[in-house]
Amino acid sequence: MPERDHLTVTVQRGGPDAPLRPQTFEVPAYDNQTVLDVVSWIQQNADPTLTYRFACRVGMCGSCAMMVNGVPRWTCRTHVSKVLDGNAIEVGPLRNLPVIKDLAADMDPFFDKWVAAEGMHHPTRTRDDAIEAIDPVAMERQEANAGIECINCSVCYSACDTVAGNPDYLGPAALQRAWTLYNDAKDADRDAILDAVSGKGGCHSCHSMGSCTAYCPNELDPLSAIAGLKRATAKRFFGGRK
């Protein structure tokens, strides 16, 4: 790799209260540097008014996702060297979400859709009952396990062109959550889940473009989860039971 001492970083600025415009910064280059490091350097050394969001810095919390050179990524675990285009990086707020300011996207629509997809626990027992024994190797449990490492970063939601074209579409993360709960032996209301995901904007709106699975930073597979929901809702429609 050629030696370089500065990166050219273009950041999208603005939001509802200010016009959207790109602003370019020269940022010192280091051997080990994440995109979040670069954004933080700008905020701490060049322009303290730059707005962005992060918390854990280790890929656990899902706060710091941004568009980097046209791809939604978790910036805290994205090394600059992996995404450099020549000597430049372009950073913007997540796609498919309203912008609050600069690099901070409004996550409300994303989380509202988790609730709309019944991405909530429907208990089978009360606190007075004994804890249900779960068979870790059961097929259903394996399906549920496949999706539980989701960190709600909204990278899949930003990557999805179906979300871009259909504002009602629940999106990959919410549907994957619904599929996880559908396969959870401790969930008591599978019909409510299938009702929530089979209506307008539900799993059947998915065109299987696969950007969710291609860009998920935790290497989860929402595409297959949504396919599972398609099968489950179709089976129920034709009178089959799980």
């Binding site: 568009m67 913007g92 299987s208 595409l223 396919a227 599972g228 398609k230 099968r231």
Partner: protein
């Protein structure tokens, strides 16, 4: 910011959509020409002589390509959405289909 989306699954989606659109545009023309067999046989023969033109022959290659691409794209989608197989299982199944298609087409070409 220009959105990057050129990964294989998205390109397969695009190819399926465009080939479907191409076929949908071709079908009305196809049925119109076929209908001449009932309404005006002499006119049908006149239209069919057009198929000897090199340009039309080239277009027919395009049509067969669209059909093949859309057929396999559709099978891909059905497998993707309806078979609860793991990714390696699907890769092996696709490789088996491709391999048998290659062998059977080779035999077919020799027979011709």
């Amino acid at each position: 910011m220009k959105v990057a989306r050129a990964h294989p699954l998205w390109l397969a989606y695009l190819l399926h959509r465009l080939s479907g659109l191409g076929l949908a545009l071709f079908l009305p023309l196809h049925f119109w020409v076929l209908s001449m067999a009932v309404t005006d046989a002499a006119r049908l023969d006149a239209v069919l002589t057009l198929t000897e033109l090199p340009l039309v022959k080239a277009a027919e290659f395009g049509l067969v390509f669209l059909l093949a691409v859309h057929l396999f794209g559709g099978l891909r989608l059905i497998a993707l959405e309806w078979l609860p197989w793991s990714a390696p299982q699907k890769t092996w199944a696709a490789a088996a289909v491709a391999g048998s298609f290659l062998v059977s087409t080779t035999f077919l070409l020799q027979a011709i």
